[in-house]
Symmetry: C2
Subunit: 512 residues, 2 copies
Amino acid sequence: MGSLPLDALQPLDPDTFAADSSAVVDFLAGYYRDVDKYPVRAADLEPGRLRRLLPEAAPEFGEPAERILADVRRDVLPGLTHWQSPSFFAYFPMNASAAGFAGEMLSVGLNVVPFMWVASPAAVELEAVVVDWMARLVGLPDRFLFSGSGGGGGGGGGGVLQGSTCEAVVCTLAAARDRALGRIGHEGIVKLVVYASDQTHATFQKGARLVGISPANFRVVPTAAASGYALTGAAVRAAVEGDVARGLVPLYLCATVGTTGIGAVDPVRELGEVARRHGMWLHVDAAYAGSAAICPEYQGYLDGAELADSVSMNPHKWFLTNMDCCCLWVASPAALTAALSTDPEYLKNAGGGKPQAAAGAGAIDYKDWQISLSRRFRAMKLWFVLRRYGAAGMRAHIRRHVAMAEWFERAVSADERFEVVAKRRFSLVCFRLRGGGDAMNRELLAAVNASGRVFMTHFVVEGKFVIRLAVGGAMTEMRHVGDAWELVQRTAEQLLQRRGTRKNEDENPLPW
Amino acid sequence: MGSLPLDALQPLDPDTFAADSSAVVDFLAGYYRDVDKYPVRAADLEPGRLRRLLPEAAPEFGEPAERILADVRRDVLPGLTHWQSPSFFAYFPMNASAAGFAGEMLSVGLNVVPFMWVASPAAVELEAVVVDWMARLVGLPDRFLFSGSGGGGGGGGGGVLQGSTCEAVVCTLAAARDRALGRIGHEGIVKLVVYASDQTHATFQKGARLVGISPANFRVVPTAAASGYALTGAAVRAAVEGDVARGLVPLYLCATVGTTGIGAVDPVRELGEVARRHGMWLHVDAAYAGSAAICPEYQGYLDGAELADSVSMNPHKWFLTNMDCCCLWVASPAALTAALSTDPEYLKNAGGGKPQAAAGAGAIDYKDWQISLSRRFRAMKLWFVLRRYGAAGMRAHIRRHVAMAEWFERAVSADERFEVVAKRRFSLVCFRLRGGGDAMNRELLAAVNASGRVFMTHFVVEGKFVIRLAVGGAMTEMRHVGDAWELVQRTAEQLLQRRGTRKNEDENPLPW
């Protein structure tokens, strides 16, 4: 039968697979055991360090897994910022968990591609089930579900698991755009306007530009302290009316539940009413805070979601689901697939695939629900998390972190040198030193991060520099939040003392 | 320090992590051992089967990993199409390997987010190193590398790891579009034209539409047998000149090395010259066949790549790198980041992050090289594959599959009942039964797939239905290709016999 090269690899030999994989599991278990010993933010901030350690070209011959793992430990780990450190309070949490890992391993190991129903029916159906489960958990209206809460009848909508909010936003923008262009013709693309607030995630601006909306037609509506930095219906209405008067076409409005900067919450119902009146697509971005909505006490923030066209949240942030996983729900799958479907010959099922009857009965071709044709089996991961921890376990996970953030907020409030900036609603606390202005707050954050004992990031609200402490790491416990507060206090003391000394001496000022 | 809910999870407890993960490793090793016992294409093609097996809502309480794995085995596996089966010859291969799995596990377990340099310097730098390694392996010109082959000086270009060709295409289309709109103003978006062939992947049409190109301005240039179904420079030139005469603006041209349907190869240099003359962005899509270019005997297909603006290939297809991983190289990173960068306050490094000097020295913010802000640590996976198997091992992997496809091609050619349709260049063989027309070929494919012993898909070229055998699975050996050919022959015999009988009887025709 023809000769083969003698040195053929056996890349999925079960014994090699098990041995290599076990070595990685041991490596990672050790990493979790020791992760709090690493500086949280990469210790070595000299650009090009790793590049200099590595050869110019790929090796010619293969090496054992153990040697590669040793290099990961020696060369890579010191250059990582440790997102799973219990003292990582930067950006938003990016949860890992044993269940998220197990589910992802299954997905990666099976390595199926559920881009069309026939290409792996059970993977597609598991996804449809899991997004319905999630929709019910966060209390979304039936219109976003495949199967209505009655059990039998369909909800009319449905969900998909994508990699990120950014992807979800691009898809919904394209759907909204094509719905509008269907009415006004493709030349109208230059008239379409997208609305967001000055607190909305930058991905909406990027996404709008990506789908061909003129950057001049992206409205950043200002917010203020009076509304808790929420986007008000009145402000949107004013902007929309101005645009309409100028002959432009309102397209898309974004409401955020839990903004990235300070965790503000836009009033979904109020914005939904404005969107409806002007024929705009309303997207609700609950990337971070959507996880909290599995607890009844937070579901009020989604009130009015029945007025939205789409809703998204990221289990990979605060829902113990390793990167990447974003739930996108739409009320009208047809609007989404009209913008995103393709039907090339090589994907038709003429060779004996999907039965005729399949289309209506949940035989979804998810390639038409997203940007990419190929896709991961993400449902396995989210399903494993939900099965392993259960809804009750996940609620406890959320409430535990909120309790820690509450404690931190109380501690900051009780120290007269500090102030809490913007109301805390979830597990994000924004604070600053009252005296010293932005310069000292910047310096405080820099010093705290330089210690390697925590990592926090900042935001600027109404021109004021604020420090963000975002609780939510899978290994974060009360003591880590307590340590973070002690470190902030002690560092602030030193800065204030130095500033006192300097003021007294009034000479040779340091460059801060 | 405040009381916490008593039932707090410990989602990254190292012992639970190791126990659950080991159970999954055992599960997968067993799966690989037995995968050839499953019907290749999902056995159970009844839509809604899995949905009916699962409850309407997520469980309230968590369960042990073993119970979940038992459900995966019982409920999910029978509904999967087994992409890792050695007899999966459909679409293109989607490689898994022990090394790809190990690398992905490290990435998933560390769960860092290399979206900005400071967010994990070593992860960003490993990515820059690995895309340079890959560029060298496939013989790309220096202009697509971060570091030129001289060693010291930069190549001027650079690469990024994305999830799919589709994402890469959207990014390059947006870069090309914004470069053009910079010259002609945003209103010019309605004049931009994208060129591809009737063999080009559907993702280009989808991508063009996504970035706001009018569907009426996507040109599908016909190909013919005479050029081996390659897009010719003359055909593109004719289309472009027609459009220019009508006041339209040529924007983007796609050259494919190894088309999805039949593995055709467009002449990169010839198309590059047309693109240059008309100021178009040239993208070279080598999604599948790019892996073959690590063997010198295939690098000629990329001749002329120095005329391209971007090149992409997917290690997740035929390079033993589990889903998902797409290399995108660009000659001008600035053109890409101009279209995709964002700079919101919460990502500025004021809190003590990236040193001033960093920007130039390889401190890349990859969020500005792709659609999404967040992103996976894909470099770890590709690096692990390259280290574990080496360039020599990977070349053997490729050549082994090409040898199997050659054998199959010879076998088909030697059987006068069959014909090979379109020249085989890599590991894809397109063939059909000479007699019987499309109906019998469709039936042949349906019967072969229904046996559960192989899975192949089809394509239509110049109106003719052809069967595709794409070799490349990680576990595929000569005997599997041999068995596939025997099955095809035996099934064809039965069909031809039945047809003979029917012809003789000339009554009661069956519905095919």
